[in-house]
Structure formats: structure tokens, C-alpha cells
């Protein structure tokens, strides 16, 4: 009993020290910006204090534009990312399962892969009729490659003894694809989806800063040009929260779809 109380106290202490660490950071920030601290290389002269940021955040939250800004960003991410997930998984399956498809599809993809998605921005503005579509395309490109590569990896590495065994048990090629290859590759596919989610947010924010109207990346950049410095940090925090929310969504989805991988699988 004493032991349980001890671990409880230890846990409370660790929680407090983690919380304290964040508070200390915010206090240092407040201190640096109020004093307009200048360290030579970096200056806090134009950095708004946390108190100002909090005020701006409250203003933004009360503003009716918040929902419009967030939802236009979310729409772009989910359109681009969704298309990348569908096409990436399909291509990954084809390449991983068939040598002919690999020979046909891999060379152009290998050529395009090293080009960072952000480098596509000028060309995509030229290629697409609206800046909306070009931004969706950038998010798509950003997510596509990690999804394809991880799907190929997962599909190609499914234990071939499992496939042999499924054939022995009467599985047709289609059934083996559905019952063995798909679940076997699932962990790797989910990893690709998670990496792709991160890169597509990154690409979206960049694209919005350059080409956007509305959207949370645009909001952040607009704050800079209008010299609403506190809003810059509010924008950054919102982007962080949205990214965190989407990766939480993916992890939860992964756990829901792959119950056999839970530490204590439900009986």
C-alpha cells in the first residue's frame, strides 16, 4: 500500500515538474520580450510577450473568421492528403506486388522523389487554373512519396511464408491480397500515412504563405506583413495544434484498424 502511495506521489511530482518546465519557458520568454533582450545574434526587440499573444489569441477565437481560416486550411490538407493516400496506397500495392508495375512506375517516381514538394510551388501556380488547386497539389505531392514508399516497403516485406500458407489453404490471389497482404502491410502503410500527414501540413503552410488567400498559413504571413506580431505566434500555435490533432487522429485510426498490435490485445 505504502508502495502504491509512493508511486502516486512520484507521478504527481513528475507531472508538476513537467508543467513547471513549460511555465519556466513562458516566464523566460515574457522576461526576454519585456526587456527587449538583445543577444547580438538574436533579438527579442520585435517579439511579442506571451501576455500579448494570449490577448491576440482571445481576439482570434472570438472572431468569426477563425472558423473560415481553419476550415479552408483543413479542406486543402484533406483534399490533397486524401488524394495522396488513395493514389499512394494504390501505386504502392501495384509496385510492391508486381515487377512489371515496378519497372513501369518506379523510374519516373524516383526522378521526382528527390525534389522537395516546396520546390513545386512556382510550377504548380503556372500549371493550375486556381491558386486553390495549386495549393492542394502541393499538399498532395508532399504526402504522396512517403505514402508510396512505405506502402511498397510494407507490401514487399509481407512474410512470404504467410502467402505460401494462404495459397496452401486455398486462397485465390485476390483473397490473398485482401486477407494477407493488406493487413500484413498495414503497419507500414500507417507509418507512411503519419509521415505524409506531417509533410502535407508543412507544404500547405508554405504554399499558403506564398500563394494563399485565407488559411492559417496565410493568416500567419499576413500578420507579419501587417506587423501584427502577436498574431504570428498565434498562427504558429494554431498550426501546431492542427498538426497534433491530425496525427492523433491517425494514431487512433491505426489502433482501431489494427487491434492485434495493441499491447494488451482485447479478448
Amino acid at each position: 500500500m505504502a508502495h502504491a502511495a509512493d508511486t502516486g506521489r512520484l507521478r504527481a511530482f513528475r507531472l508538476l515538474s513537467r508543467l513547471g518546465s513549460i511555465l519556466v519557458c513562458i516566464a523566460l520568454w515574457q522576461f526576454a520580450s519585456v526587456l527587449h533582450l538583445n543577444l547580438g545574434v538574436v533579438t527579442f526587440r520585435n517579439v511579442p510577450a506571451p501576455t500579448e499573444v494570449a490577448q491576440s489569441a482571445i481576439v482570434l477565437m472570438k472572431s468569426p473568421k477563425l472558423l473560415a481560416r481553419i476550415s479552408s486550411s483543413l479542406y486543402r490538407v484533406f483534399a490533397g492528403y486524401g488524394a495522396a493516400a488513395l493514389i499512394g496506397i494504390a501505386l504502392g500495392f501495384a509496385i510492391g506486388r508486381s515487377r512489371a508495375a515496378g519497372d513501369l512506375l518506379l523510374p519516373p517516381l524516383e526522378v521526382l522523389r528527390p525534389i522537395p514538394a516546396v520546390a513545386w510551388i512556382p510550377l504548380s501556380i503556372l500549371m493550375f487554373p486556381s491558386s486553390e488547386l495549386s495549393m492542394i497539389f502541393i499538399t498532395f505531392i508532399g504526402a504522396l512519396f512517403p505514402i508510396i514508399l512505405n506502402t511498397v516497403h510494407g507490401v514487399a516485406n509481407v512474410d512470404r511464408r504467410l502467402i505460401a500458407s494462404a495459397r496452401s489453404l486455398g486462397g485465390t490471389p485476390i483473397a490473398i491480397l485482401r486477407e494477407v497482404v493488406l493487413p500484413g502491410a498495414a503497419p507500414s502503410i500507417v507509418t507512411g500515412l503519419a509521415i505524409g500527414m506531417g509533410t502535407s501540413w508543412f507544404c500547405l503552410v508554405t504554399a499558403e504563405m506564398i500563394a494563399g488567400q485565407f488559411g492559417i498559413g496565410y493568416y500567419t504571413w499576413e500578420a507579419y506583413t501587417l506587423q501584427n506580431y502577436a498574431d504570428i505566434i498565434v498562427g504558429m500555435l494554431v498550426i501546431g495544434l492542427l498538426g497534433m490533432g491530425s496525427s492523433w487522429l491517425l494514431t487512433t485510426l491505426g489502433e482501431f484498424l489494427m487491434p492485434w498490435r495493441r499491447p494488451a490485445a482485447a479478448r
Binding site: D159, R160, R161, L162, A164, S165, A166, R167, S168, L169, G170, G171, T172, A175, E179, V180, P183, G184, A186, M258, W260, A265, R267
Partner: protein, 280 residues
């Protein structure tokens, strides 16, 4: 279950004919003959152990019987039909279990009937029934990762037997288990085999295991594998653990040991498996 037993006996299915087969593995400069000019037959319902040193091609032979490997020459028939590829009536149990980690035990076992288009209620009922027979009642809803090595091989056997195979092909199925579990599993296998008499070809390099289980032992030479000797065992059934200390058992063990003695200085051969060379 009883219906199936009388069925199998009456139809006397599971006759294996191996006539002068050779199997080549590898490709190009690395190609080699794993099995050469092998001849033997197995009668319906017989339990035959194929015994030989590591890399002698006994697992390769099993791979060909299961339809995973094609033979280079000779003739291989099961109930007078040539083996053209893997089929559910050629049941194969691998050394390391091949259960699907994402399926609960009963869905793993029900995989074969699902592929045959049996309705869900019916196939799950059959799966639970056969799981009970292999001694795993109560574990139907577990995932494979929650079971011990011996239990996993029981599920594997159940998953194959639910298809009512003509032959049961086992590739050193107990060699990855600890000694105690292994001897328990040997008794479990004999018990199942008594309830569902199926022609069984059991590959092993463990002489005790072969002597304990088999009606007949086919001793193979080092690669390329040939039949060194075909030994018919006269021990009665059911086999009891004390058998291994009987005089006749020990005498046969000494005899087989002598047959399998490797010449001094010969390099050990790479391990083979039923799917070809060195694959995981």
C-alpha cells in the same frame, strides 16, 4: 467428426507415389540438385517420418509434395493425381507457425472454409469444434501473439485439418519448441492422428521423434538426398513415453545414428526449406 473418419477410411485417400523425382533449387551458377532420383510410396493413413541430416533435401521434398516447389524430373502423384500447385487438400505445417497475426485464433482456423465460401456461422462452428479437438477450447478469441509456441502449432495443425486434407505434410513442426513441450506435442499429434487418421509425412532431424511417432522411417542421405533405408517400425499404439527406453527403440536409434554419421571433416550444408533456398 465421426462422419469424416469413416469417410476417409472408406475412400482410403492419401496414397502418395514418388517415382524417381529430382528437384533443383537456385538459379544460374548457384543452381544445385537438392533431391535426386527419390523413390517411395506412402499408403493411405500411414504416418511416415522422413529423417535426414540438415540440408539433405527433406524439406525440399515436402515442399514438392505440398506443391510449393516443382520437380525437375520424375513423377509425383497423390491419389493418382499429379501435384501441380498448393491445394487445400495438401495440408502443410511449417517449422515456424504461419498463423496470420491479425486474425484471432478461430478466424485463422476458419480461413480454409472461408476460401471455400462456407458461410460464417458454419465455418466458425467447425473452427471451434476442431480447436476443441486439438485441446484449445477457451482460446478461440485470442490473437496468435498471446499464445505459447506449442499452442501456436496446435492452431496451425487445426487450421490445416479443418480442410480435411488427403495428406498432412509437416516440416519439423516441433523443432523450435523446448524439449518438454516437444514431447507433449508429439503425444498431442498422435492423439489427433488417431481421431482423424490422415496420411502424414513428418520431416524431422530428431531420431527420437521419428522413432516415437512413425509407422515407417525413410532415412535420407546427405545432399543430393537419396533414400538410404526404409525402416518399418513394429511398436504398438498408443505409444507411451516409456517407449523411448525400450531395448528395441534404443537398438534402432543406434542403427539410424550409424546411418546418418557424417564423414569427419565434411562441411555442414546450408539449411533448405519447403519454399526453396534460404528464405525467411
Amino acid at each position: 467428426m465421426n462422419v469424416r473418419v469413416t469417410d476417409t477410411a472408406a475412400r482410403s485417400v492419401g496414397r502418395i507415389h514418388v517415382a524417381h523425382i529430382s528437384i533443383s533449387l537456385g538459379s544460374g551458377a548457384n543452381a544445385f540438385e537438392a533431391v535426386s532420383g527419390l523413390d517411395f510410396a506412402v499408403a493411405p493413413g500411414e504416418l511416415v517420418c522422413v529423417l535426414g541430416p540438415s540440408g539433405c533435401g527433406k524439406s525440399t521434398l515436402l515442399g514438392a509434395l505440398a506443391g510449393h516447389l516443382t520437380i525437375a524430373s520424375g513423377r509425383l502423384t497423390i491419389d493418382d493425381q499429379p501435384v501441380a500447385g498448393p491445394r487445400p487438400d495438401l495440408g502443410m505445417v511449417f517449422q515456424q507457425h504461419t498463423l496470420f497475426p491479425w486474425k484471432r485464433v478461430r478466424y485463422n482456423v476458419a480461413f480454409g472454409p472461408k476460401m471455400r465460401g462456407i458461410c460464417k456461422a458454419e465455418r466458425l462452428r467447425a473452427a471451434d469444434e476442431i480447436l476443441d479437438l486439438v485441446g484449445l477450447a477457451g482460446f478461440e478469441t485470442f490473437y496468435p501473439s498471446q499464445l505459447s509456441g506449442g499452442m501456436l502449432q496446435r492452431v496451425e495443425i487445426a487450421r490445416v485439418l479443418i480442410n480435411q486434407p488427403r495428406v498432412l505434410l509437416m516440416d519439423e513442426p516441433f523443432s523450435a519448441l523446448d524439449a518438454q513441450t516437444r514431447s507433449m506435442m508429439q503425444e498431442v499429434l498422435l492423439d489427433i492422428w488417431t481421431k482423424i487418421p490422415t496420411t502424414t509425412v513428418f520431416v524431422t532431424h530428431d531420431i527420437d521423434e521419428a522413432l516415437f511417432l512413425a509407422d515407417r522411417i525413410i532415412v535420407m542421405s546427405a545432399r543430393p538426398g537419396r533414400v538410404l533405408e526404409d525402416i518399418r517400425l513394429q511398436f504398438g499404439r498408443p505409444r507411451l513415453p516409456e517407449l523411448v527406453t525400450e531395448f528395441e527403440f534404443v537398438r534402432l536409434k543406434r542403427h539410424v545414428l550409424n546411418l546418418l554419421r557424417r564423414p569427419d571433416g565434411a562441411a555442414p550444408l546450408a539449411r533448405l526449406n519447403p519454399l526453396g533456398v534460404e528464405a525467411k
